[in-house]
Every structure is written in structure tokens, then in C-alpha cells.
């Protein structure tokens, strides 16, 4: 049904998106917590930086990543020398680009949900002997679960669709960074590639719809489980 190239693009897309989301989740929850629960100097700046990918052209962001994480970029050299990781021309680079682009969606959803958690429950847990980190893990995070789930799926879908930052930073390498959108773009560059492009577009649409429906279903289930509705 699907051609080997389509399967390659699809599985690469899923791999990139899953890694991007999985790796950004802990940081996303931490940043959401900082923004929802803490007052500190530079909070507005952090808030702005987190939201930057929403307003910046993806290509510009890809370029920033290239400057920072490229072979000669300060962070790129560090990663290469210490961990032996190259991001450019690698699916890891595609995952990083996708993660950065999707990060604001993740943080936003988690933050909104966390702000809605009744802080009086947290003080109640404290009076029962729970230290702050335990309160966070046993009360705050479980009650934020619907927001975490929404954030995960929104950012997952965003990762699947990521194009500009990926192609600028990680380039368009078949089997390595050529995700569905990049494969679609490539198909359109070839004369007579419209049929292939249409198929890839339909696959993207199907994937997005499945993810959205799944997210709504799961969010409802989770809300029910934690007794919020």
C-alpha cells in the first residue's frame, strides 16, 4: 500500500517527533512550573524566549540553530568533542529543530493546566509531611496530567509538520532528515511528482487527524481518572 520511500519518510517522521517530544517533556514541565508557580527576575524574558518560535520565521530559527549547533558553532563543537554527537545532517538535528519549534505549545498547555491546580491541595500535602519535590510529583504533576497530555499531542503534531527549521538546520538527507513534509517538498521539485506529493499529503492529513482524535479521547479519560470531571 505504501511505497518503501513513503514508509521511510513516515517512520522517520514518527521517530523524530517522538524523540523530540520525549526529550523536551521534562524541560517543558520544568519551564511551565517556573512560569506558573515562581516569581523571579527575568521571568518575562524567559516567557518571551519560550514563545519566540511561535512568532519567528522557522527558517530564521533553523539558522540560529545552525549558528549555535553547527560544526563550528559553540554548542556544536562542545557536543562533538565531548559526546561525539553531530546534529547537522542527522535525524537528531531534525529532532532538535522540531523540539524547539514545538516547545511553546508544550509549555503553554502544561502551564495553563498547572495554574488551574488548586494550590491549597499542595499546602494540604505539605502539612501531611510531604517535601516540596514530593508535593510536585504526587500532587501537582498528576493534577496537571490533562495539560501535559494535551501539550504532548499538540507538540507531537507540530513536530510531524515541522519543515523550515529542519531543512535549514538539519538539511534534506534521504533516510536521515527527510521527514514527511520534506519528502513532500522534494516530490514537488521533481517534474511529475504531483501524484507522489498528493499521497504524502494524504498520509500527513491522516496522521494529524488520528493524533488529534486520540488526544481528545485521552484527555477526557485522564480528566475522569483524576476526578476532575
Amino acid at each position: 500500500m505504501l511505497s518503501p520511500l513513503e514508509i521511510e519518510a513516515l517512520s522517520l517522521s514518527l521517530k523524530v517527533a517522538l524523540w523530540a517530544v520525549a526529550c523536551s517533556l521534562p524541560l517543558g514541565i520544568a519551564v511551565a512550573w517556573l512560569l506558573a508557580r515562581r516569581e523571579f527576575p527575568g521571568k518575562a524574558l524567559l516567557d518571551g524566549i519560550v514563545h519566540l518560535p511561535l512568532v519567528l520565521p522557522p527558517v530564521a530559527l533553523g539558522y540560529v540553530l545552525l549558528v549555535l549547533f553547527g560544526r563550528t558553532g559553540p554548542l556544536g563543537i562542545w557536543l562533538h568533542d565531548w559526546l561525539g554527537i553531530n546534529l547537522v545532517f542527522s535525524w537528531r538535528g531534525a529532532a532538535l529543530a522540531a523540539a524547539v519549534m514545538a516547545f511553546p505549545l508544550l509549555v503553554r498547555a502544561v502551564r495553563l493546566s498547572m495554574e488551574a491546580v488548586d494550590r491549597r491541595l499542595e499546602t494540604a500535602a505539605q502539612t501531611l509531611g510531604a517535601k516540596p519535590w514530593r508535593v510536585f510529583l504526587t500532587i501537582t504533576v498528576p493534577l496537571t496530567a490533562p495539560g501535559i497530555l494535551t501539550g504532548l499531542l499538540l507538540s507531537f503534531i507540530r513536530c510531524l509538520g515541522e519543515f523550515g527549521a529542519t531543512i535549514t538546520f538539519a538539511a534534506n538527507v534521504p533516510g536521515e532528515t527527510r521527514t514527511l513534509p520534506l519528502a513532500l517538498y522534494t516530490a514537488l521539485q521533481i517534474p511529475g511528482g504531483e501524484a507522489g506529493a498528493t499521497r504524502l499529503a494524504l498520509i500527513s492529513v491522516a496522521l494529524a487527524i488520528i493524533a488529534l482524535v486520540a488526544s481528545q479521547y485521552l484527555a477526557k479519560q485522564v480528566s475522569k481518572r483524576i476526578g476532575l470531571s
Binding site: 491541595l121 494540604a124 502539612t127 501531611l128 509531611g129 510531604a130 517535601k131 483524576i226
Partner: protein, 364 residues
């Protein structure tokens, strides 16, 4: 000494300056809303910070501004039952109960889990979620959860305020049993005098952020100078009695107290059990001569100590009854009677209490 507090705090425009001691047992913190009761309890629990002072619970210093001690709430080990129960909605009742139970530090004796479940009748609720419980059930779970954390002292901030009268009556006995079974000391915040009379041993009256009075419940409720705080409309005296005799034929019970004996409709209590009752001022009438051929069972010879000043048609009269040991009663009479009978301090009177006037709700 169970609790020794001396602290000051400024919360916006509101200042709190409170110093008091409390012995083991139930200490009621009473006062009108806005008197600073909840803030005071929050400061004990470590949820609000006093600007200076000292808090000592059972020889443990929890806060001392002079020595820079300020334990976080989780290290104070004070149980806290909030007005709105604050059960964790994502956990079952059983998991709510064991939340603090699992966090009791090593070396601290655990509270008997099954005994708490039994006492608060929680067995049938264990698998349920807080969202499916009634208000009364929630408060029972919240009380159990706090007790199971093996607190040094239990703080209860108007735990019954959100419940209707029948639910309240349902929970009060649980709180009474709690103290009996687990030997736990409680600071009980309330603005309901009936609850306090029933539960508390000591009473601390707060007004405008300061302690207006503190002492045994019966002494404080008898003080005329505190009447504007302890309540005018449900004024009454508290008598600490013991069950002395059961008259099964007439279905009456005799209670004895320092000032005499009181006959009441029969109570299902063993002889010798202590019982505190509240005699409302409106249920006490006065006569100058020993009344004869009246239906009232309880007549006490006494002497007027004080006559309250009042603008209304009635006055409250404080009377000493009994000798050699004495108790005090309040009587609410009309101003006209007061004038015609010449009720002034020093006057010998006879106070009458209808047996039927004291109902179960006034007893503790």
C-alpha cells in the same frame, strides 16, 4: 504544656499579636470572622509567617524569630483539617488516608490505621474517589488523613462550617471519640459556641487579632465583659456535670454539678459519666420566694452577681447558685420584671430551669 505561642504578624493592614498557652485536650479558638483565627492557625502550621515570636508544641520549637528557627510545614508535624477538606481528587479515599501515613518519619509511633478507619466509619468509602463523597464523608476522610500522619497536635479550622446542621451533628461525635481514642490534642477553630461547649476544654477568645481572653470554657462563657464576643443571642452558662442517678420510672436523669443537681429527660449514659451542658439564659426564670406548686423540676437558690446593661426589652442576669460550692447561671428576663422584682446585685433569688429546656444538642 502542649502549646506555647507568642507571636506577632502584620498581614497588610491587619496586625496579629497573640500569646497563649494550652494544655492537652481540645482548645477552642473562638471569635468573630476577621478576628485572625485562621491566620493564627496557619502560622502554627507554617503556612503563614509571623514577623516575630515563638511557637513551641510539646517541647519542640517550630518557630523562633530570635534564634532564626522556622521549620517548614512538612517538618512541623501538625495535622491540619481544613474547612474545605482538601482531599486529593486524583487519589482514592484509601490513598488519601495513607498519604501522610506513609510519610511518618522513622522512630515515630504510627497511628493504628484500622482503628482510625473504624472510628471514622470509613471502611465502605475506601475505594471511592473524593468527588463522589458527601460533605460529611469528605470531612471524615480529611480528619482520618490528618490523624494518620501521627501529628503532634491537630489543627481544625472550622471543619464543620460548610456542613448543614444534620451533617454537623453526625460528625461531632467522631471528633469527641477521636480525642478519647487517640489521646490527641486539638486546636479547634470555630465561631459556633454550641460546638465549642460540646467539644472544648479550654477556650481562647480572639478579637481584632489579639487574644481577648483564655481559660476553661465554663469560666470564659460566664464572663459578662466578654459577652459582646461570646454571643448575646445564644447566651448561656456551661455546667460541667456527672451523671448521678437514673430514674427509669419517670424517665429522668439526675446530673450533679458543684452548684447542685439537675433533673433532665432521661439520657442513655452510664452513672459517673461526665457531661457538659449549656443552659441557655432564655430558659432560666427567676423568683424572689421559693416557688411552690410549680411544674419546674429544677430550682436553685442563689444570689445575683451582676446585671447586664442592655438597650433591648430584656436583661441578662448572672446568678451564683449552690453552697458551699458554687456554679453560675445566666437568666434572661424582661426589664419590666427586673424593675418590679428589684433584681440588683446581692439580691437573693430562686432560679428555675425547665427540665425539657435542655436538649441533646446542648450537651457534650
Amino acid at each position: 504544656m502542649m502549646l506555647d505561642v507568642d507571636l506577632q504578624a502584620t498581614l497588610g493592614d491587619f496586625k496579629i499579636k497573640a500569646a497563649f498557652q494550652a494544655d492537652a485536650g481540645i482548645t477552642a479558638l473562638f471569635g468573630p470572622s476577621g478576628a485572625g483565627k485562621t491566620s493564627l492557625v496557619n502560622m502554627l502550621a507554617g503556612l503563614q509567617r509571623p514577623s516575630r515570636g515563638r511557637i513551641v508544641v510539646r517541647e519542640h520549637v517550630l518557630f523562633d524569630s530570635g534564634e532564626g528557627i522556622d521549620l517548614p510545614p512538612e517538618q512541623r508535624r501538625l495535622g491540619y483539617v481544613f474547612q474545605e477538606s482538601r482531599l486529593f481528587p486524583h487519589l482514592s479515599v484509601a490513598d488519601n488516608l495513607s498519604y501522610g501515613y506513609a510519610l511518618v518519619p522513622k522512630g515515630v509511633a504510627l497511628v493504628d490505621y484500622d482503628a482510625v478507619v473504624d472510628l471514622l466509619a470509613l471502611q465502605s468509602l475506601l475505594t471511592r474517589r473524593p468527588g463522589t463523597l458527601s460533605g460529611g464523608e469528605r470531612q471524615r476522610v480529611a480528619i482520618g488523613r490528618a490523624i494518620l500522619a501521627a501529628p503532634r497536635l491537630l489543627l481544625m479550622d472550622e471543619p464543620l462550617a460548610n456542613l448543614d446542621a444534620p451533617r454537623r451533628a453526625e460528625i461531632l461525635p467522631f471528633i469527641e471519640n477521636l480525642r478519647r481514642e487517640f489521646d490527641i490534642s486539638i486546636v479547634y477553630v470555630s465561631h459556633n459556641m454550641d460546638e465549642i461547649v460540646r467539644l472544648a476544654d479550654q477556650l481562647i477568645v480572639m478579637a481584632d487579632g489579639t487574644i481577648a481572653a483564655q481559660g476553661p470554657v465554663d469560666k470564659i462563657t460566664a464572663r459578662l465583659d466578654l459577652r459582646h464576643l461570646t454571643g448575646r443571642w445564644d447566651a448561656g452558662a456551661v455546667l460541667s456535670t456527672t451523671v448521678a442517678e437514673q430514674d427509669d420510672a419517670d424517665k429522668l436523669t439526675r446530673l450533679s454539678f458543684p452548684g447542685g443537681d439537675l433533673w433532665l429527660p432521661q439520657l442513655g449514659l452510664a452513672i459517673g459519666s461526665p457531661l457538659r451542658i449549656r443552659v441557655h439564659a432564655r430558659d432560666v426564670s427567676l423568683a424572689l420566694t421559693p416557688p411552690e406548686q410549680v411544674s419546674v423540676l429544677n430550682v436553685f437558690a442563689g444570689e445575683v452577681i451582676e446585671v447586664g446593661a442592655d438597650d433591648g426589652p430584656q436583661v441578662d442576669v448572672l446568678i451564683n447558685i449552690g453552697s458551699p460550692q458554687q456554679s453560675q447561671l445566666w437568666a434572661r428576663i424582661t426589664k419590666r420584671s427586673q424593675r418590679e422584682l428589684n433584681i440588683v446585685p446581692g439580691r437573693k433569688v430562686h432560679a428555675m430551669i425547665k427540665a425539657m429546656a435542655v436538649d441533646r444538642g446542648d450537651m457534650g
